[in-house]
Amino acid sequence: MSAPANPTGPVMTGQPGFVIELEQFSGPLDLLLHLIREDEVDITDLPISKIADQFLSVINDLGLNQAADYLEMAARLLRIKAQMLLPRHLGDDEWEDPRSELVRRLLEYQQIRELVDWLQRAAAARAEQYGRGYEAPAPDAPPAPLEIELNDLLAAAERVISLIPEPMIHRVVPRPLDVEGATRRIHMLLESRAEFGWLDLVGEAPTIVDVLSAFIALLELAKRQTITLDQPSPFAPMVIRRESPREAA
């Protein structure tokens, strides 16, 4: 796979000067091969000066000059460039082309790239056939069955209950109706008067218990025909009267 013709900038981290990902080239050799292919030059007779300059300019443009691998290659290219400039004697058998090691590596790398293309094609062809390989992501293992003593459970429940805040409801103080007291009071009032009003019986600010007690006492006495209850008009205060002496009695 050749490197894209118009590479975009590398992904930079927030840390300045630290390249984390070089998406367009998988390494300095890849970049070199890319340049060689673009220039259509002979890999075994590298115009090292030209390639070195291009390499430096590209890694500067892409911000790759921060990555050690690229820097190392840049340094290597400059060294080879310098070595090529050294004078040498004609017919010097000892002379070794300073480019030879780099060329060997480039050829080796080119071979790898060709294999990569082959692997990619093979993988793509294989991907056209589905095996019974689909495995749904494993569901979470079911929780192990609980092993718990009853006392532990109760203790746990108690702990939880103790954490529940007291509910904000009115606490009812049990206060039984005092029907007897109300009955005595009615009798006392009847001894002094033949008739009296409801308010005389319960007072100006009766509690609900006082009202209920008095009412039940009145009903009871009315049932026994000790008193009669009268209400002059709807919602008017009730008038309690001593029962007129029974004719029969």
Partner: protein, 182 residues
């Protein structure tokens, strides 16, 4: 199909990976590997031709039912099955080097690629495509990596012999031409 062929068909259907002849031979104590091979050919013949949507493939040293290529697009579109994730160029480079040089250590991979390959190697191990094959001699006895059956499976190869021979590549590795002094 013979009863053995039907048994093998069931086992191959149930498996999500290629099953080897040896594995398949354990299904029936009566049947040796020769009988299993014959039955496999029987199944292959049954599924060849134009009557089925799957075929029996010989892959990664074993046998596996695979869907036919002509159905790939529709299955892919319907998203009934997961397509394997693609590998990055860096991962493929590393895989290629390991496949051809195995067992090989990280240093050599780094040298060939010209970049540090530690993270890529770790990821390939995680995906099960390579594994530690042995330990090298020398300083620190470095870990040496090799490819796994899953590597073959991913590429649809029967074995490593199916990889192209280096001589077949257009860029054969040869010594650089001796430069003439200028």
């Amino acid at each position: 199909m013979s009863p053995l062929a039907k048994l093998l068909e069931a086992a191959l259907f149930a498996s999500s990976r290629p099953l080897t002849v040896e594995e398949l031979a354990t299904l029936d104590a009566e049947s040796g590997e020769g009988a299993v091979r014959a039955a496999l050919e029987e199944i292959r013949a049954e599924f060849d031709g134009d009557r089925h949507g799957v075929s029996l493939a010989e892959i990664a040293g074993g046998w596996q039912f695979l869907t036919r290529r002509e159905h790939a697009e529709a299955i892919d579109r319907a998203a009934f099955a997961l397509r394997p994730r693609r590998l990055s160029p860096a991962a493929l480079e590393t895989l290629a080097i390991i496949a051809y040089r195995q067992p090989v250590g990280r240093i050599e991979v780094d040298e060939i690629r010209g970049v540090d390959s530690g993270a890529v190697i770790d990821k390939l191990v995680e995906r099960g495509l390579i594994e530690v094959a042995s330990r090298g001699e020398g300083l620190g006895r470095p870990l040496l990596y090799g490819t796994t059956p899953q590597f073959l499976e991913m590429l649809g190869l029967q074995d490593l012999e199916d990889l192209p021979r280096l001589e077949e590549l257009s860029v054969a590795l040869r010594p650089p031409a001796a430069a003439e002094p200028e």
